[in-house]
Symmetry: D2
Subunit: 333 residues, 4 copies
């Protein structure tokens, strides 16, 4: 039985509590939030769980095995560090930390203490992303060409971060999971319209073997779009996360290029066959993820989305942030 | 009565012929194509019009007042130059020329000879684009924030140009028409997967006053997308060119940022009101455009999409091409 | 303060409890369900509310002012009758009763006892339906032509009723609210494929002045559709309840017929103007409805969706049921 | 070489001429239309073909082997009869005739004269309908449950017929092709709003084995819909004819009903698996159909859509027309 304390009961925290609360091998022993409304909501929803507004109570408690840090990104490092120092495993909301240096320090600390870090890259546990990974692993898509994601809406502006740190972690963590090669460099462009933070950005990530990824994030779109194209040599995928059913469509479409017999002109031919929408597992992603966290602690396994994955995403965020502020300067990773 | 000769009867040429043929003040006096099939099709469709395979016949004929050059881009300069030298007005398929130097030379020549150049930026004559322009001119959108276009499909690969020169001229000419400020710089990223030309590219164009434009062009998309977002301070537009009706949707959505009373936190509020799909004029764009060309010749007016507009688009194409080959290097315009 | 007891905590009951629970002038004093799982869920969710499995405890309690009957339709009459006999106001899940005779008996009883009946026609409190009603009331649509609804999905088969009693009450109650004239007659066709109940049906309701309504209900559709067309002389509405935004689209489209100067041929002309998606109030319908119920009790007002409305819907259901079993025999109302 | 004369060069006639004109084994030897504009258009488009305004010239010519009658329905019988009497095969626009008695007379006449009748049920030659037929023939769908079609738009009002005769022939001919059993009876409801003809109608056709078909036709819809559901025991099809690609979607969805061990409650379970959009042949339907007509003449074969098919569709149209005028009276076939 793993005893979990959760810090942060704002937008996402209640989902984390609900999932850890619903597991057999796990017990939520404390919830912490500074905001009186969140405090009240937590008390009402979980009468049997201790609610507090001082995180030290959780971080230092001997009754806590693991701490979930579901707070703004600028607080992650201090809270996670303290938890690790006190011998607790940590589950940290994405993005992992504000800087890659912080991420490295936490990873080192966890290793020294033999503790687990899981960074909450929820999307890689969705049925849709696992299905795309399966299509890649089983070579259904063939050689990978590109990943192109549009993630725009009329957004919740964050006061402390720009749109890159707010929306891009989703795609960066998905790319980290789907694309085998190591990212080489980042180019990002964008603009600031309303305050001092970028409210829209266009991020290109270069991978080896001509694999290219592009992310379009925007807080100023009148419509919500969550569409990702994954192009392969054999097949191509359109993932529309806003569809209730048929989130994933696999197209038997492609291009062949030939140049036979020394003919001057290239012979380009197109293939346009069936489309197929595989059934996608509907299990709540966070449920699978939190179960995996508890399992990793109990059986001493390495989490799929461990500290290193969190570090890689933060590295790309840093690079994109640096690039966007220099009008698309190429940042090598 | 303006007598027009048309060079090129491939994919687009027949539309140009049909429109000039259908006008009162205009007569198509010759069609030229090297390809025997095109030659045959032209002869069958226009029994009364002379069809030939030597463009000199048209370019040098005293019976021709204007020449339409509807051929691959690398041939534009030579053909248009010869036409101008022979005292003929020219209507040139987009992109205007292969280089901005060529465009400048043609503009200069036309001025010296008092001849008209029109570059076939058809899209700016569509009901949709004219409606967006009207919404901007009448300040319905308010201060402009951005233009973001996705123009992807499983494409016709061109053998002589990359995806930028093939698909981006559409958006660049629309931007040239819609955005008041002068473009400052271009950043483009992309990749080559199948031969030696980029088959996908992501182009950012920086304008003054934090106006930013982004174009996503891709020949390797399994689905066809033609969607453009135009964001303004007051209202935002979604233009989906693949919709039969309701191509343009105007959203009464926006964001206000305030910071009253020295309060630390920004006050961000959202506006989410009605959506409105104005009726869009369905007149064939090329019909309006060709009529404008004839009118400009007959009444000595400056075409909206004159040589200078064509030059500006070629400048941006050159910059994007240069940038994509240097992994997103910023190219000042 | 109105004290409410709720019978039935299955699929819909929890929503009813949550809404009455959240109101100031109202207190949920008891929840009853025979099913042990429902009993357990109610106890866990509302620690402060008494949960029981014998409805008599609620129906006879002096601590209860009003009873909400959220149980299968065949139980409505007995439970509501007992509640009324014991001097309690009743809120009854739709459809009101299994027969119109039962509905009449309950209405009479309530009148004699000066008690309120509200039948849970939730849909008429949605922002979408209220907006359509407003468009009709303000004569935006002009003379009404038709109401045509498609309400199909791969369905929850009910064991006790057919698809008409399961899905048609929604549209019948909406029609009762939107269409001014009294329904005259019903024709219904349908088929039984899997057991002894109709699993698909097509219902026509004739109204005065050539207003016609049609409802397509189907438990065997592979896709879920919730689309209703409301046609008027001046404007036409498409209501797609599955859209997150833009549920209601108002089309400035129509037809004019003229026959001027004794000309033999009719002159038909079409109008195709703008489309407009008015913002629709997102307040939870059940919240407005339950507040209205409490208000009607406290201030002795007649509920909009009172027993008579419930009776009218049951009359149409009876007629449709009778008609479908006689292969479309016209049933006068 | 079959020599064809075409009567009627209005909306559909040009397509018929174009297809017969494009075939090797066939020659269009005459086009007839009373309308001067149609006459002019035909002359311009087919300089080598004789154009006339007196149909007798074609019907009596010894140079004509077959006549295509592409005129309003009320003229079909006289023209086709005269053609058959003169020893010519006939291709008749749908619906075949104004009455089933006329259809019978023509069929009898053709048999006596050993001539072919083809009724232009174009839709059964589309890739979509042929694919659905294949799915039925190969038992992919399993036992057929229903056919449910919505065919609505802001319509071309016909002056001589109501919406049933205008739009329903499409679905009735498709049903005649897809559904194996013989239609038993028809129930139709509808309304007249603008003149003396029904402008919307809802038609149910009963088939053996609980197969049911429903057609929703409407000239007063603000939006165009062309969607048909075909439900089977094993799989279900959604055919959206307005989609450019993916017209046909096959859903691995269904319902099983069991009643094991004398248990009182039925056990209903749902199956929700993959969706699959098979590639659909894009060949022009009319091209295949006209080739089949010529082949039937040359090789003395019975056309798929022969006079008998035309008769069956007219029988259903008559029944629907009779039923709608008697408010849904069941008409046995």
């Amino acid at each position: 039985m793993i005893r979990v304390g959760v810090i942060g009961f704002g937008y996402w925290g209640p989902n984390v509590v609900r999932n850890f609360h619903g597991m057999h091998d796990c017990q939520v022993v404390g919830i912490c939030d500074l905001d009186p409304h969140a405090f009240h909501r937590a008390s009402a929803a979980y009468p049997g769980v201790e609610v507090m507004n001082d995180s030290s109570q959780l971080l230092e408690s001997t009754r806590v095995d693991a701490v979930a840090v579901i707070t703004p990104v600028w607080t992650h490092f201090e809270l996670a560090k303290k938890a690790l120092e006190n011998g607790k495993h940590v589950f940290v909301e994405k993005p992992f930390t504000s800087t890659s240096a912080q991420a490295e320090e936490l990873i080192e600390l966890a290793e020294k203490k033999h503790l687990k870090i899981m960074v909450d890259h929820t999307f890689i546990y969705t049925g849709a992303v696992r299905k795309i990974r399966q299509l890649i692993d089983e070579d259904v898509l063939g050689r990978l060409y590109y990943y192109d994601s549009t993630r725009v809406n009329l957004g919740l502006f964050q006061h402390d971060v720009n749109v890159i740190w707010d929306l891009a972690p989703h795609d960066l963590s998905i790319m980290d999971y789907l694309i085998k090669g190591k990212p080489q460099a980042v180019v990002a462009t964008g603009a600031v319209h309303l305050n001092t933070h970028e409210d829209m950005a266009f991020i290109t990530v270069y991978f080896p073997d001509d694999v290219i990824a592009h992310i379009n994030v925007n807080w100023l779109s009148p419509v919500k779009v969550r569409t990702t194209l994954v192009g392969g040599e054999k097949k191509m995928v359109v993932w529309n996360d806003l569809e209730a059913d048929e989130k994933i469509k696999v197209y038997d479409r492609g291009v062949q290029v030939g140049n036979p017999n020394g003919v001057y002109e290239l012979l380009v031919s197109y293939r346009s066959g069936d489309m197929w929408a595989p059934k996608v597992d509907q299990t709540e992603a966070l449920k699978l993820e939190s179960a995996h966290f508890i399992d990793c602690i109990m059986n001493d396994r390495l989490p799929l989305n461990n500290g290193a994955a969190g570090y890689r995403v933060v590295k790309m965020l840093e690079a994109a942030d640096l690039s966007v502020k220099q009008r698309g300067k190429l940042i090598e990773l």
